[in-house]
Amino acid sequence: MKTNQSEELVKEPVKTDTKEAVIEITGLCKSFGGQEVLNNLSFKLFNGENLVVLGKSGSGKSVLIKCIVGLLKSDSGTIQVFNQDITKLTVKELGEVRQKIGFLFQSGALYDSMTVKENLEFPLRRMKEHVNQKEIDEKIKDVLENVGLADALDKMPSQLSGGMRKRISLARTIVVDPLIILYDEPTTGLDPVTSEEISLLINDVQKKYKTSSIIITHDIECARTTADRLIMLQDGQVYEKGSLNKFEKSTDELIMAFFK
């Protein structure tokens, strides 16, 4: 699966009315030292859709997805992932839910001391305990081909460019076949061409692996390319939600500031 550059950039939105919610957040609150970051936030992520979360820096976008994956503990509210409230799970149960969630970190978060192959092996060995070395090698080869970096197997992260790091990081995320992928600013720090490649790759992953995704970004081009639906956060709450078309045509000043 190579990135198809000629593909129509604005995608056909996934119909969500008949789909079930894979993530349902209700009344989520999170504050740090008295500063409220998320304030009674509620929304749903439907099966098979790419939900883009927009918002200014510091609006709580990254905190939101870290709460979803259990890296941060919410103060109140519920986070239902496949009908399991992750705020009430034990460490073991949380580990099981995490096997269904992939997380692409803003910085890539590749392990510096490991080669690309070892980076990809790491989650595979821990999350899929019964796979043998041959299956691991085949899976790694397959995902590296999917992100267009089959020849980077023995490279160290320090030998990779920013775009390559993001691709390898995405490969590490999809290597365990997650059902949901959380992207934390996937195109930050990349040039426009590489950003577009990454955005198209996100769509390719959605199609091939049938994933549902939350994409945190303030890159409007990335949002245009990947979004089936958007929500905008402001002061820790959902400020607006809807289709790309609705956002593009909005006369609201804050939304227009993003889409001008």
């Binding site: 870290k66 994956v69 890296l71 580990g95 995490r98 096997q99 969630i101 997380f103 970190f105 803003q106 910085s107 978060a109 590749l110 392990y111 510096d112 001391s113 790491f122 989650p123 821990r126 999350m127 365990v176």
Partner: protein, 278 residues
Amino acid sequence: MKINIPVSKAKQLALHHTLKLSENTIAKTTMANNIITDFADVLLFIRLFIKETFSRKFEVREFFHQCFAIGYKSLPLVSVTGFIMGFVLTIQSRPALVSFGAVTMLPGMVAVSLIREMGPVITALICAGKIASGMGAELGSMKVTEQIEAMEVSSTHPMRFLVVTRVLAATFMIPLLILYADGLGIVGSWFGANIKGEVSLVLFFSQAFSHIGFVDLLPAVIKSFFFGAVIGLVGCYKGYNAGRGTESVGKAANSAVVLASLLVLVVDMIAVQITDML
């Protein structure tokens, strides 16, 4: 003596002093709070470390990888340190022993000094500089670049994978490095003794070991394990709890060296007291 100050000025002065006192009180309370919080953090870290050490899933491969990184890769530094310790100790002690006509005591004296005190403490201090700072910087930068969180998302407990393996590797490898440094120290001492005299290596070693007993070796080995544990724990604690910015990586490495070195000396002092009582 009567002081004439206008009432308004007096009120201003009183308010100023009250505010200053309040500021001082707040600053002292904050400092005390910070110390208590830090102490509680350390206890929680140690508790979590112990819990994860005895968990079922031990990271054997990573443990041996860390043993290699801590043990094998420290050999050149420890070799030079050990050799120089013995060499310098011999050169410095020889004139005093010659003046008392006790130059034949030189190998025994050097061996006892090295094995009981100088070898363990100096090697541990050198290891604190190399290993604790390395752990602090490595874990600190892993935290800054979200690698620790990435590990957690991959269903891997970072404490088990990163901290337990490093602390245990340091605990087991540092005593071995210390014994190795002691051995090279005696070789260095032989070189030192041969500058102004002529002693065979076999005779020198035989004289040196004839003065070393079980009571010299055992306390030194036991305290070496504690040195290793302290170095590993401090290095990992500082790195694991580093702040978010790149500046905090440097701070974590720096404070790891300072605290580990200080604690090595404190552990040595306690060990000497205990040995003395037995």
